[in-house]
């Protein structure tokens, strides 16, 4: 271990900038840099400093450039900052470009064997003798490529003041306590830190200092949160097909299900996870399992949703509870599989031919990924319809700080299901009869031992007794009841989150992963004398509060990451007489939304 006082603390720098910068780590994908980046970000988090990480990666296994962005913010901001103050250049091919992206006075750590030009004179350079340092530590040959990246962890830690004990703790979390792996990596990190301590002079102002802002928080990605939510929501059946960026949601299911949901006595599973042959089969199995009474879900992204369209229409019409996670990526078509977007809003809202309207939940934080993860099953069984949960790549795949998840605050809602005993009390059972007037009808599960229990599920027109019918009045009555059911749905769905500022006449509406960018931009706008109110949509069909919010404001901006202003269009349909004052602000470049863009978009549109 190096001596407690690091280079960063020892050397005096004019006007230090503490806990406020963005660092880009440029590497080649498949080089194992992920562990290094996670060690850095988690160590910062463990030091109590607000931090966020965004992985900009290619759709490729090995050899293409990738960037990991770490933002440190004393103010607690976690959105993507579109300036880079510190660069760790571990990819010779992108060095020149990466260097140009640095702010004036920025810092560049780079491997000293790179044949590169230091084309900027306004940047502080710290060359690192990566090869020599690795040689000295002499790791096993097969691990050498991974260990190389630990060099920059050691040097950066030393120069910024990141505590090595916390890096060790972060590695312990990452390797789940595997001592050998932690020790080997720490040897490299310590050796690099010692070298930096002895050989580098601090010439930049950037520092980190221990804080207490992350106490009681965790650092986790949205897909893992969603999987945990599903597990605590009683998910008993998952079928899926691999697709970026949704696969890691099922990876997390597979990781946590055995420890959380195996029968304690027999060791047998209380769930099934099936990797299907395609998304058609994945959703088909989920519909079959939901029909029989399992809590069934799938997880996919845009192209998978396209394939699921026909089955989703069937599940909507035959009224079968299923949960579908859409971790959105950039479309159309294959699009940008590893870049984020909110482009599936309109597609999903009306997914299915004929008149279909789908219910969507839109988590705007990691803890909401967990919460909607379990709540979605209650809603699916209560409403007997597909429940879509719209996440996105940024939320699903990146590491976020989050408050610890709250345990579900009410028991499972299994909805209107009639048992054999219930049927004994009733004289008749009609599957699609609106007994309660809320549009939600009663169902029986296959296998219910009662002569009244059986009914025939079909995608064709049917009477309230589920018998095939082409009669116009049967068709219309059934569709009208479905709309009634969707009206009822509004009562059960999460209401929007609304934040006010004094004297605000501008209303901002957004949803999903852009929340941190909107919040930060609002602070900056307020400083400029532009207070705003902000409503974050959490579900569609819309809650009544959304219409009220629109009516209360002189001008409303709907801010989203797609080109067409998809939520904007839905809102204009919802409140047509207000449509001229609802404006669309969109950006759709594949990157997580930045506060600066929001700030400038609102300011320039508003003429402030």
């Amino acid at each position: 271990m190096v001596e407690p006082q690091s280079t960063a603390q020892r050397k005096t720098v004019k006007e230090p900038i503490v806990n406020d910068f963005s660092m880009a780590v440029a590497t080649v994908n498949g080089s194992g840099s992920q562990t290094s980046n996670l060690a850095l970000i988690r160590a910062l988090f463990r030091m109590g400093i607000p931090v966020s990480g965004k992985n900009l990666f290619p759709s490729n296994i090995q050899g293409l450039p990738t960037w990991f962005m770490i933002r440190v913010s004393a103010e607690g901001y976690t959105a993507r900052r579109d300036t880079v103050e510190l660069l760790v250049a571990m990819n010779q091919d992108t060095f020149a470009e990466d260097l140009m992206d640095l702010v004036q006075g920025g810092v560049c750590f780079y491997a000293d064997h790179f044949a590169v030009q230091r084309e900027r004179s306004d940047v502080v350079y710290y060359p690192m003798p990566v090869r020599r340092l690795v040689k000295e530590v002499d790791p096993p040959k097969e691990l050498r490529d991974y260990i190389v990246n630990m060099c920059y962890v050691g040097v950066v830690a030393e120069m910024l003041g990141i505590e090595l004990t916390e890096i060790c703790g972060a590695l312990d979390t990452h390797f789940k306590g595997k001592r050998g792996a932690v020790d080997l990596n720490m040897r490299m990190i310590e050796s690099a830190a010692t070298w930096a301590h002895e050989n580098l002079t601090k010439r930049d102002p950037y520092l980190v200092k221990r804080d207490e802002q992350t106490r009681d928080m965790v650092m986790i990605d949205g897909n893992t949160a969603a999987a945990l939510g599903a597990i605590y929501g009683g998910m008993s059946f998952t079928s899926w097909y691999p697709i970026t960026p949704a696969s890691s949601l099922v990876d997390a299911l597979e990781e946590y299900l055995p420890q959380l949901r195996k029968d304690k006595e027999t060791g047998k599973a209380t769930y099934v996870v099936i990797q299907a042959e395609d998304e058609l089969a994945a959703i088909g199995m989920v519909v079959g399992a939901g029909w029989v009474g399992a809590r069934a879900m799938t997880s996919t992204s845009g192209p998978g949703i396209s394939l699921m369209a026909e089955f989703v229409g069937l599940a909507f019409f035959a009224e079968i509870p299923v949960v579908i996670w859409d971790v959105q990526r950039m479309g159309p078509s294959t699009g940008l599989p590893t870049r984020t977007s909110q482009g599936d809003v309109l597609f999903i809202r009306y997914l299915g031919h004929g008149d279909t309207r789908q219910v969507m939940l839109i988590p705007g934080s990691i803890s909401e990924c967990f919460e909607f993860g379990w709540r979605a099953f209650d809603l699916a069984e209560r409403l007997q319809t597909p429940i879509f949960v719209l996440s996105d790549l940024d939320m699903g795949k990146n590491l976020w700080m989050s408050e610890t998840f709250s345990y579900p605050d009410h028991p499972l809602d299994r909805g209107k299901v009639l048992s054999a005993e219930d049927l004994d009390r009733l004289d008749e059972f009609a599957r699609y009869r609106d007994v309660d007037g809320d549009g939600i009808t009663y169902r029986t599960l296959p296998g219910t031992e009662h002569p009244l229990a059986a009914y025939f599920t079909r995608g064709t027109g049917h009477t309230d007794q589920a018998i095939y019918s082409e009669r116009p009045e049967d068709w219309e009555a059934n569709l009208m009841r479905l709309w009634r059911k969707l009206e009822t749905a509004r009562e059960y769905l999460p209401t929007p989150q609304i934040h006010h500022m004094e004297e605000a006449c501008i209303g901002l509406i957004a949803y999903g992963s852009t929340d941190p960018a909107i919040q930060e931009a609002r602070d900056r706008l307020a400083v400029q004398g532009v207070p705003t109110d902000y409503l974050r949509i959490r579900a569609v069909p819309f809650a009544h509060e959304i219409e009220v919010f629109i009516r209360e404001h002189d001008i409303v901006y709907v801010i989203e990451m797609n080109t067409d202003g998809q939520m904007h269009q839905l809102l204009q349909l919802e409140v047509p007489d207000q449509s001229t004052k609802i404006h669309s602000l969109t950006i759709n470049n594949g990157l997580p939304m930045s506060p600066r863009w929001v700030f400038e978009a609102v300011r320039s549109h508003d003429g402030v």
Partner: protein, 350 residues
């Protein structure tokens, strides 16, 4: 010929062992064409379930889209049914069966539903060995859309509306064999006794049991030159054996000459007796089965019976190693882990 025990014959006149009469196994009146092979198959499903004393509530009926897929409405009115999407019944069945492994699934499909639009899901159903009866009501044409060729139509067959079919047919049984299906059979709707015994055997099988039944379309494909017509099938059918399914509790009380009968023990303790007819045939050899089908195709004969049997492959629920209570009926105490466990998981993300 195997005879059933006398007590059962008497009982069958009225109520079966679960106290139901044959009427209790009926469905709604058929809306298919008069003489459609599918109706005959529905009748044999009713008879088989009645004779096996299966409770209708324990059965789920699944289908895709097409004439064949309409037929689950016409049998077992007290069973839950699901008329799903074209070619996608296998995925519905996979989810349904896993969600409640106590249910017996009967899937009804057609040649378009299985061999055209649904060939992918069909193969993967077999690959996973989902326990269910999978009946293909095979007539070579699309009926509801008025007479187009399906993927099983004869090469060079000429139909009034669509002309001559230039493509080789897909053989459902061959596909099943290639996909490692452990119960591959073929029958003819005009041979109700064999259809019924095969359905019983299929219901006793732990895995996907495929019954490919030539079920002529009287409206669009029933001319004598078609291998899917009544007249051709009657004239060219070649049963491999005389099949009888014998329930668990009954003794096989007829003695046979050596080599005359093959007995196959089923998963549920029942027995299938295959009495030799003209040729020796061993249904446990997959390559012989493929060869048989190839020879039959070349010789223009309709081989019927149990073509291949292998119950050694585990069925999907056996692989998944689930708790005994069906997933659909798990209580909250099982479905939702404790609050304490969530706290522990949270600690690992510090």
């Amino acid at each position: 010929m195997v005879t059933h025990s006398k007590t059962k014959v008497i009982r069958n006149k009225k109520l079966n062992r679960v106290g139901l009469s044959k009427v209790d196994y009926k469905g709604r009146p058929t809306t298919l064409c008069q003489g459609c092979g599918h109706n005959s198959i529905s009748s044999q499903i009713i008879a088989a379930c009645y004779e096996m004393s299966i409770k209708p509530e324990q059965v789920i009926k699944l289908s895709g889209i097409g004439c064949s897929s309409k037929s689950p409405t016409y049998f077992l009115g007290n069973s839950h049914g699901f008329n799903s999407l074209h070619g996608r019944m296998p995925s519905i069945a996979t989810g349904a069966v896993l969600a409640n492994t106590t249910l017996k699934a009967i899937g009804i499909s057609g040649d378009g539903d299985t061999a055209s639009i649904g060939i992918g899901q069909f193969i993967h159903l077999l690959r996973r060995n989902v326990p269910m009866v999978y009946i293909v009501e095979n007539n070579g044409v699309y009926g509801l859309t008025k007479g187009q060729f399906s993927a099983t139509a004869d090469k060079d067959l000429e139909l009034k509306k669509v002309g001559v079919n230039p493509f080789m047919p897909v053989d459902v049984c061959m596909e099943a064999l290639i996909a490692n299906c452990g119960f591959v059979s073929r029958s003819f709707a005009g041979d109700p006794k064999q259809v019924k015994e095969l359905i019983k055997a299929a219901l006793s099988f732990n895995g996907t049991a495929v019954i490919d039944i030539i079920s002529p379309c009287v409206t669009f494909n029933n001319r004598g030159e078609s291998t899917q017509s009544y007249s051709w099938s009657r004239a060219h059918k070649y049963p491999l054996h005389d099949i009888t399914w014998v329930p668990k509790r009954e003794e096989i009380d007829v003695t046979y000459k050596p080599g005359e009968v093959t007995e196959v023990s089923m998963h549920d303790g029942s027995t299938l007796t295959l009495r030799k007819l003209e040729r020796d045939y061993d249904p446990t050899n997959r390559f012989d089965a493929l060869q048989l089908l190839d020879e039959a195709y070349r010789a223009h004969i309709l081989v019927t019976g149990l073509i291949y049997f292998n119950e050694e492959q585990p069925a999907l629920p056996d692989i998944e190693d689930m708790v005994e209570i069906p997933l659909a009926y798990l209580p909250e105490s099982t479905l939702r882990p404790s609050e304490e466990s969530l706290k522990q998981v949270m600690e690992t993300f510090r």
